[in-house]
């Protein structure tokens, strides 16, 4: 690849001039030129409701930093569509304080650079974020969220390390608590007891390693031994893991990985006559799996701990959501991401409504309003309590079992409850 450097300098001049013009144009339409005045607009309230950053005219801008083309595409798509549906319905009902809500979505594809860019772009424009996927990225933006921006962020990631900020509010139980509840279920219903070994197959990263904290915690308390198997999101074949767990003589397995890994694990275990109960976290199941070969094995031996009732629950709110969602997105899969997205959007919506009532729609006002919500029930069986920034909004989990015949592919085997171990548990840094 060696071409001679015949540089055309006149061409260079042309191009340089063009580049200059383009850059000037860019700076022309930049928003920083406002540095002489209108930067702080809106602080003096229009009418009686105090507004601030993120509200211009009659529009409240919310941001959603999601992943629709990367590793969490399945979750991101459902969450985003549910939130768009919520916003649409909210606006149809008249919005908040006469303001329309507008959701700006940025897909970062689980790329840290794009995630941070998305945050930087949206942070000055929006009132808050109804979604932020990828807890490492939330952690990366945390100094800015807590320091300058002070906007409410509802991450779609349930790592206990995200707790403790007044602005970053995790919705539902964190993975460690969910795992404690899952192991508790194994002990109560599946005859696991003191001295037994349980396997824990978990993803490298925030999700799996948070969950591991939970399983280790309850194992310590209940006298169990955890046999760890760490995997990567690219591992799709769990044969070697099952062989290792079998050798270790585990009586049950917890899996904190993706749906595919869960399907493989359950399938391999069942096929090899290794007949132990397997329980996964909320993210370790997708209804798409029931159509694959792993389907029958999943329906027999697999359970899922979830922060709320499944999308197919028989509450009126759930049935309405299913109907509306199907109408809006006829081709989309109904999974628990829809519930998660809907719940988060509802929490933000309720906070907005409360803030409206107290006539303070600033970022601070909305943050305070959320702190007063102590029992938000979106119709999925779990009440969310946002009064304590140090804790997740609920410690309850629902235990589900895959079932092909139900909408969303899951039925309830144990209603929402927090185990005593989970109630007493306080998250610690790993």
């Amino acid at each position: 690849m060696s071409t001679t450097g015949t540089t055309g300098k006149r061409g260079a001049a042309r191009v340089a001039a063009g580049a200059l013009a383009a850059l000037l144009l860019l700076s022309g339409c930049s928003s920083k030129a406002k540095d002489d005045g209108d930067g702080e607009k809106g602080d003096a309230a229009a009418g009686e409701v105090k507004t601030g950053q993120g509200i211009s005219g009659r529009t409240i801008a919310l941001g959603a930093l999601t992943d629709m083309t990367g590793v969490y595409a399945t979750l991101g798509k459902s969450v985003t569509q549910a939130q768009q549906l919520y916003v649409k319905q909210l606006n149809a009902d008249g919005g908040v304080c006469g303001h329309k809500v507008e959701l700006t979505v940025r897909d970062h594809g689980y790329d840290p650079q794009k995630a941070l860019s998305g945050y930087t772009e949206l942070a000055p424009k929006v009132l808050g974020f109804s979604q932020f996927i990828g807890s490492p990225f939330v952690a990366a933006a945390k100094p800015r969220i807590d320091g300058q921006d002070k906007a409410l962020v509802l991450p779609q990631g349930w790592s206990s390390e995200l707790l403790g900020s007044p602005y970053i509010r995790v919705i539902g139980s964190t993975y460690d608590i969910e795992t404690i509840n899952a192991v508790d279920f194994l002990m109560k219903e599946k005859g696991i007891g003191k001295g037994d070994r349980i396997g824990h197959v978990y993803f490298e990263g925030d999700y799996g390693e948070s969950a591991l904290l939970g399983s280790k915690h309850i194992a310590r308390q209940a006298g169990l031994t955890v046999v760890e198997q760490k995997i990567k999101p690219t591992d799709n074949d769990m044969t070697a893991q099952v062989a290792a767990l079998k050798k270790a003589g585990v009586k049950a397995v917890v899996i904190s990985a993706g749906p595919r890994q869960a399907a493989s694990l359950v399938g391999v275990a069942a096929a090899g006559g290794f007949d132990v109960p397997v329980i996964g976290n909320n993210s370790a199941f997708a209804p798409q799996l029931l159509a694959t070969q792993a389907g029958p094995a999943l329906m027999k031996n697999y359970y899922v701990a979830s922060p709320s009732l499944p999308i197919g629950a028989d509450t009126p709110a759930a049935e309405k959501l299913v109907a509306d969602y199907r109408k809006a997105y006829p081709k989309a899969t109904l999974d628990n991401g829809v519930v998660a997205g809907w719940t988060a959007a509802s929490a933000f919506g309720e906070a907005l409504k409360k803030a409206c009532k107290s006539k303070d729609l600033t970022r601070e006002g909305v943050g305070k309003a959320l702190l007063t919500i102590d029992a938000l029930d979106t119709g999925f069986g779990v009440a969310q309590d946002f009064t304590d920034p140090e804790a997740s909004s609920s410690k309850e989990s629902v235990i589900l079992q895959p079932d092909k015949s139900v909408t969303g592919g899951m039925k309830v085997v144990q209603e929402a409850a927090a185990s005593t171990a989970a109630e007493a548990y306080t998250p610690t840094a790993p």
């Binding site: 260079a12 920083k32 540095d35 569509q81 897909d107 650079q113 860019s117 952690a139 800015r144 490298e204």
Partner: protein, 376 residues
């Protein structure tokens, strides 16, 4: 960024056999004006652009530094490396370890931040040196795949060596401070414009990029550059005329690692937190795409390619609403993230097909020659 059009180095990439064709020179005065204009423009940008654009620019600058490094290796010496992300990670995390105070429970030596930055770059070079038994002996594609190992090793260490790296959640990056000026988010009013970290780092980035560009140009135009091209164009002949092939390969590998390390330090400063997911294989591939799109073997090519690859996705995402064919996320159709992947995949293929020599050729006027089709 705007040094690109004028910094073309005609001598550096001439094949051994042919004398370089001297381009008609631009009147020196016009050249100076262009440089001054471009430089001035870059200097005033922080006063006008908002943080999003400055951050995009900083990502591009960091990418440009890294791309110059890999261009020395792949473009000028013909050694394929897919492990560039590993050295970026060493730079980024090395800086954190050297500079952090250790308050967050992670290892930190608490050195002055400028020293930490220098040491991080040296550490990347050292890591490159440790790889030299392989880097010096392997060539082309073999080296490419061998360096893939570095990515996997790097990811494994980043996730597992918690005390050093903070594990999956990464670790905070201490802000750089130099001559009493700290590059953090505390606002500093300059001519009534509030200067946060992005504005301040912008200037640091410019200085670093300029320095790196000039140094690489010096290397390429001098004796080492000719030796490197000789190795690329005809390894055996290069050996015959007395170029110590293995030593040169290893040395260029070290130099390229140091460039990557510096890019890593700058990226860490912009991110304000290092995240292990970032330093994966995709990042390495992006760097290769940059130099092919921009132009192999030239400093300005690397810069142009870096700007193209790192700014394009952000443009597409930001203006996705206004673009035809690209649909908003969640509506089905081609999402902005996918659109930018199509574009840059196509750019890699098309540039080599229609613009041998990369975008820098277009920038430098259309007078490129087709490739003579030489052998290794």
């Amino acid at each position: 960024m705007s040094e690109a059009p004028v910094s073309e180095a005609p001598v550096s990439r001439a094949p051994l056999s042919e004398a370089p064709v001297r381009p008609p020179r631009l009147a020196p005065r016009t050249r100076t004006y262009l440089w001054a204009g471009g430089g001035l423009l870059l200097l005033v940008l922080p006063f006008y652009l908002d943080r999003f654009w400055l951050q995009a620019g900083l990502f591009a600058m960091a990418a440009a530094i890294g791309a110059i490094g890999i261009n020395l290796l792949t473009g000028s010496t013909g050694q394929l490396s897919m492990g560039h992300a590993f050295f970026l990670a060493i730079g980024a995390y090395g800086y954190c370890v050297f500079a952090a105070e250790g308050g967050d429970g992670l290892t930190g030596l608490g050195l002055p931040t400028w020293l930490a930055a220098v040491l991080a770059v040296l550490l990347s070079g050292l890591a490159g040196g440790l790889f030299s038994p392989i880097a010096g002996r392997l060539r082309g594609a073999y080296l490419g795949i061998a360096t893939l190992a570095l990515i996997f090793i790097g990811q494994h260490v980043l996730f597992n060596a918690r005390d050093l790296t903070g594990g999956f959640n990464g670790r905070d990056v201490p802000p750089l401070s130099l001559f009493g000026l700290t590059f953090d988010d505390r606002e500093l009013l300059v001519a009534n414009v509030p200067f946060g970290s992005a504005e301040k780092l912008w200037y640091a980035g410019l200085v670093l990029l300029l320095g790196c560009g000039l140094f690489a140009r010096g290397v390429l135009r001098g004796r080492p550059g000719r030796a490197m091209n000789a190795i690329r164009d005809h390894r055996i002949a290069a050996g015959v005329i007395g170029v110590p092939v293995a030593r040169y390969r290893a040395a260029v590998f070290v130099l390229s690692s140091m460039y990557a390390g510096l890019a890593g330090v700058l990226l860490a400063l912009v991110f304000q937190r290092t995240v292990p997911d970032y330093f994966g294989i995709t990042l390495s591939l992006e760097y290769l795409a940059m130099i092919v799109i921009g132009g192999l073997g030239s400093v300005s090519g690397a810069v142009i390619g870096a700007v193209f690859v790192s700014v394009l996705p952000q443009l597409l995402t930001r203006y996705s609403d206004a673009l035809p064919l690209v649909s908003a996320p969640g509506t089905g159709g081609v999402a902005p993230g996918e659109a930018s992947r199509y574009l840059y995949g196509a750019a890699v293929v098309a540039v080599v097909l229609f613009l041998p020599g990369g975008l820098v050729r277009v920038a430098a006027g259309r007078r490129f020659r087709t490739d003579p089709g030489e052998k290794r």
